[in-house]
């Protein structure tokens, strides 16, 4: 067994696995930095995956090519996820209801609605029809090595990297980022200075839905179908990554890589290499998450106004 190709494969696998986590964690960033807790990342992931498959399948049935259909699926995912985000914003920002329960409710809604529509559209309550997915680009030289093929030739991976970089710049260097920061820390102060807090919160939450849904679209395109409950807790792990990464895009992305690496290792070991039962390996990502969260407490401070609805002005 060659060490270098194995390492390369592991890195490539880590990058692929990290994509949905990164998109979801970025989504969480925008929402939570604006002051709204988002537990619904899981449901948004799932919704994105489903919307992607439905759109892509419809497009393919209409005669469009696999790649085009895939991109249409991506677009549909963003819209669907944004819609779910808008619902969360309506409940939490407009009505000031309990943000954690809203997230839980939306997760249940997404779970139920996707299974419901799955049965209606595809006739099965377990999985959908297959879609072609978006192929990697065949760039000379880069496409031959596993790591560079993932990093430079896979469109959605590139998009994820771009999203992280843009988000980090947005947060630290733009007026929007400054205002977002203020809104999550001290919305009353921001409001008193004319910052449109309500509009920023809506933006943050809707954006979180669209981004998390992108993660779901990736999952669907990678697996070439939608399976009921395919998000498998990734949305919650992404939230943990956000916390671990101290609520910054860069930190969250690094944390996602960490969790993805653990998962990549777990998958390798599932081949029976070390004799560990599959069920214990399946537990690994969740256990790693719990350990990471326990370890980072006290050093990772959430935005001060997180979870607190804005007092309505009389």
């Amino acid at each position: 067994m060659e060490a270098l190709p194995l390492a390369g494969l592991l890195v490539a696998a880590t990058l692929r696995i990290a994509v949905p986590y990164v998109f979801a964690a970025l989504g969480g960033f925008y929402s939570e930095r604006s002051g709204v807790i988002n537990i619904a990342l899981e449901g948004m992931l799932l919704t994105g995956a489903f919307a992607c498959v439905v759109a892509a399948h419809a497009a393919e049935s209409a005669g469009l090519g696999g790649a085009v259909a895939g991109w249409l699926g991506v677009g549909a995912a963003c819209v669907a996820g944004g819609g779910l985000g808008a619902l969360h914003a309506l409940i939490c920002v407009r009505f000031g209801a309990n943000q954690i329960v809203s997230g839980l409710g939306l997760n249940l809604l997404a779970m139920g609605a996707t299974k419901f529509l799955l049965t209606l559209v595809f006739g099965s309550s377990a999985n959908s029809e297959r879609i072609a997915g978006i192929p990697s680009w065949d760039l000379p030289g880069l496409a031959s090595w596993s790591v560079t093929r993932v990093l430079f030739c896979t469109p959605l991976v590139l998009l994820a990297v771009l999203a992280v970089v843009v988000s980090q710049l947005l947060f630290r260097r733009t007026v929007f980022g400054l205002r977002l920061h203020a809104t999550g820390e001290h919305p009353e102060a921001a409001l008193s200075l004319g910052v449109p807090v309500v509009r920023l919160r809506w933006t943050g939450v809707v954006l979180s839905g669209a981004l998390a849904a992108l993660g779901g679209a990736w999952l669907a395109l990678e697996q070439h179908q939608f399976t009921a409950g395919m998000s498998s807790g990734r949305g919650f792990i992404a939230l943990a990554a956000l916390i671990f990464g101290k609520w910054t895009p860069r930190g969250a992305a690094l944390a996602c890589l960490l969790f993805a690496a653990a998962e990549a290792v777990q998958i390798q070991l599932q081949g029976g290499a070390l004799g560990i039962p599959t069920q214990f390996l399946q537990m690994l990502p969740y256990v790693v998450t719990m350990v990471a969260l326990a370890g980072v407490i006290g050093r990772s401070r959430p935005p001060a106004a997180l979870g607190r609805p804005l007092e309505p002005l009389r």
């Binding site: 537990i39 619902l87 409940i91 009505f95 000031g96 209801a97 309990n98 954690i100 329960v101 809203s102 839980l104 409710g105 939306l106 249940l108 809604l109 779970m111 139920g112 609605a113 299974k115 419901f116 049965t119 209606l120 309550s125 498998s232 807790g233 919650f236 792990i237 939230l239 943990a240 039962p277 069920q279 214990f280 399946q282 537990m283 969740y286 256990v287 998450t289 719990m290 969260l293 326990a294 407490i297 006290g298």
Partner: protein
């Protein structure tokens, strides 16, 4: 200026109108939204809802099924509600119930045939409750002593619990080529209610219902009539005030969460001791998550949880039957809508504002 809406109905009806308004409106709106959904899909909402109604109330068997499903939901709803009262979110009821079912089945099998029913039943029940409490203990300790929020931890533990349980089942306990254990001895089983009430023949309704009702009463007593319960509620409403008052906050948090896990554990008895008489992969059927909806709809009070569990149990039963018309997940959508509507329509801030207005009016009258 008259404070609107507080004394619209006379007497005892008036006293209940305000707290019931939110949940009832949520149910009504959810059903209306469901009707629209059904219509959009080309089915007749009237047909769907009458079939639903018929499945629930049309026969004693049907109603027995409703009661049976409601029993589990009372258990998980109570678990979530007790945790809520302490300010904790127990999303792990599903995993706690799952491992409790496994533990109680394993314990019952280990007990064997020798034990008399009067001893076996409570012991097996206790084994399940203990297992549930232990599973809940980890996130409780992490929250009380490290300050880690329990939402993500309880969710993570669900996945861990399923994986662990699956391994134990496959390795140790499963019957050949099945996903369930052997049947537990007759002594450990809960008797069916159909023996006493023949109308319910065929429905798996069993003594677990009475057990859960008893637990509801006990929880209500504990929370509102004991010093311990007072302290737990104080912690749930304001940790800082409780701490200043000398209440041992961390201890109460852990105790409340452990109790919550134990209650989720008892919910397993309905299936394991009262229905199939074995532990089966997937027996929880989302009851832990539905418990959240039940707790919210029931305003996190045992008195509200029973009707809320009946409502969701009715939906579960109905969903099963309308599966020919619309996919049974229609019911899951309804339940999610109820959760979302309840938190919007019954916000505590609203209540406080109403009360303040009433108080101001009274003050003007007095001074």
């Amino acid at each position: 200026m008259k404070a609107r809406g507080t004394r619209v109905l006379p007497g005892i009806l008036g006293r209940w109108a305000r707290p019931l308004a939110g949940p009832l409106a949520a149910i009504g709106l959810a059903l209306a939204a469901g009707a629209i959904l059904v219509a959009v899909l080309g089915q007749d909402p009237v047909t769907v809802y009458t079939t639903l109604f018929d499945a629930i109330f049309g026969s004693a068997y049907g109603f027995g099924q409703v009661l049976f499903k409601a029993t589990t939901l009372i258990g998980t709803g109570l678990a979530v509600a007790v945790a809520f009262r302490a300010g904790l979110f127990n999303i792990g009821a599903e995993g706690q119930m799952y491992l409790a079912g496994l533990a109680s089945a394993a314990f019952a099998l280990a007990l064997g045939d020798g034990c008399p029913a009067l001893v076996a039943v409570p012991l097996v029940l206790l084994a399940g409750a203990l297992a549930g409490a232990l599973v809940a203990l980890l996130p409780a300790l992490l929250r009380a002593f490290l300050g880690v929020h329990e939402v993500i931890n309880t969710i993570m533990l669900n996945f861990v619990a399923f994986a662990l349980g699956s391994w134990i089942l496959v390795e140790k306990l499963a019957l050949f080529e099945s996903v369930h254990t052997a049947e537990i001895p007759a002594a450990a089983r809960l008797p069916r209610l159909e023996t006493m009430l023949p109308a319910f023949r065929g429905a798996p309704l069993n003594l677990a219902l009475l057990l859960q009702l008893l637990l509801c009463a006990l929880c209500a007593l504990a929370l509102w009539r004991t010093r311990w319960g007072y302290e737990v509620r104080a912690v749930g409403l304001s940790e800082s005030a409780a701490r200043s008052a000398g209440i041992p906050v961390r201890r109460r948090l852990v105790e409340a969460m452990a109790l919550s896990g134990a209650l989720a554990g008892t919910a397993a008895a309905n299936f394991v001791q009262g229905y199939k008489y074995y532990f089966e992969e997937g027996f929880t059927a989302e009851a832990g998550f539905k418990g959240i909806a039940v707790a919210l709809l029931g305003s996190t009070h045992p008195a509200g949880i029973v009707p809320a569990a009946l409502f969701f149990g009715a939906l579960d039963r109905g969903g099963f039957v309308i599966n020919g018309l619309v996919p049974k997940e229609f019911v899951d959508i309804l339940q999610a809508l109820v959760i979302l509507l309840v938190i919007v329509l019954a916000r505590p801030g609203d209540v406080a504002a109403q009360v303040r207005r009433l108080a101001l009016r009274r003050r003007e009258e007095v001074s």
